[in-house]
Symmetry: C2
Subunit: 245 residues, 2 copies
Amino acid sequence: MNAKNAAALDKDLMSAGAFSLDQLMELCGLSICQAVYRLHPPSKGNKVLVACGPGNNGGDGLVATRHLFHHGYQPTVYYPKKTSHELYQRLSTQLKNLDIPFTDDFESSLKTTNYVVDAIFGFSFSGEVRDPFRSVIAALETTKTPILAVDAPSSWNIEDGPPSSGPGAKYNPEALISLSAAKPLVNYFEGRHFIGGRFLPPSVAKQYDLDIPDYQGDEQVVETAPTGRKATSEKVLKMAERQDL
Amino acid sequence: MNAKNAAALDKDLMSAGAFSLDQLMELCGLSICQAVYRLHPPSKGNKVLVACGPGNNGGDGLVATRHLFHHGYQPTVYYPKKTSHELYQRLSTQLKNLDIPFTDDFESSLKTTNYVVDAIFGFSFSGEVRDPFRSVIAALETTKTPILAVDAPSSWNIEDGPPSSGPGAKYNPEALISLSAAKPLVNYFEGRHFIGGRFLPPSVAKQYDLDIPDYQGDEQVVETAPTGRKATSEKVLKMAERQDL
């Protein structure tokens, strides 16, 4: 689903769908937390740095941070561009009530964390990355610390994937979680891919021509088969193997 | 925690805690769904009848119903006393958008369901059960269909457990889920007991002298050791066994 449809889907969920942003964000944030848990359980190192942008992607990150705390992690939040929306203020207060540190120095925090969640930009991002996020994305691009990106590796174009130059051109996080539905950029993504947001009504899925993922048990996330160039090359490899037979 | 403290805890979570009712109910409803999943997975029969009262207990039930749908169940809702609160109207719309049937005839629906969730009255209940819930509780009291009660078996007194006579006096559901914290009535409860609501800030738990349950993995519910009279008799049995040795 492209960026326009993703925005329309969210709007439909909150108008005819009768969801509040509080509800959707709560479930999306929990999905992110569960993906982190699968990728990097707290026993492997419980420090998680969550980078939150100014929009809904950042809001999902703030909710995920709270859930990470309740799942045995010691999260730190980087949230440099705060919005005045009352929900975001409440999400921040909820984190402060848990004594979760807010850092202003992303790069220093990155050096000591075990895992990163990139909730800077989501499907509504387009154009140029501006400060302070330019240097943050440059740091994400070069770090060896594993990263889960939320809906999009930040700086990527929703349709066309990574930018051809500048910050993000070589950014390839370990994992990506698509909320509600995968966006076209997954075709350029080579890491592990999850879908979260177990709330999509079948009528809405039909309207937007989406498949509801095959969630297992009571899980809020599902890992999909590999996507992107790696998947394509794997397919080519399999075809080649078949021809060998 | 007694009824007064439970009400104060909710109030604190929504004032200083900065939670919205939407958020808390979303997580409580998901906890209820996960408890049903553990007790009675959809493979054992996926028809669940959810009885919702007019207050927050009923709201938790409405949210649980939506999650049950997304977890492979075919829920039916009994919700005879609708409130005008906009959240409850949205929760109802969300269920209607999933084509979940609302029944007016609890007793007929009870005959064909595989499982029941009792979300009629919670910790704020006291006094007399009035119609239409008198006959509903009488039906719950005699059915062989397993029931999960939310926060309290409906009609039970939060402090003193089952009423000495009238509807509910012999009501003993298969299971109980306590949201946030167990209420004193668990001392009278003999079924399986779960705690849900993985969002309690440690500072609030300390203020109310509550233990945060030892949630496992990324689960939203935890089953506790047996409570109530059965637990006591088990302890006596174990002591007797030890004396035999």
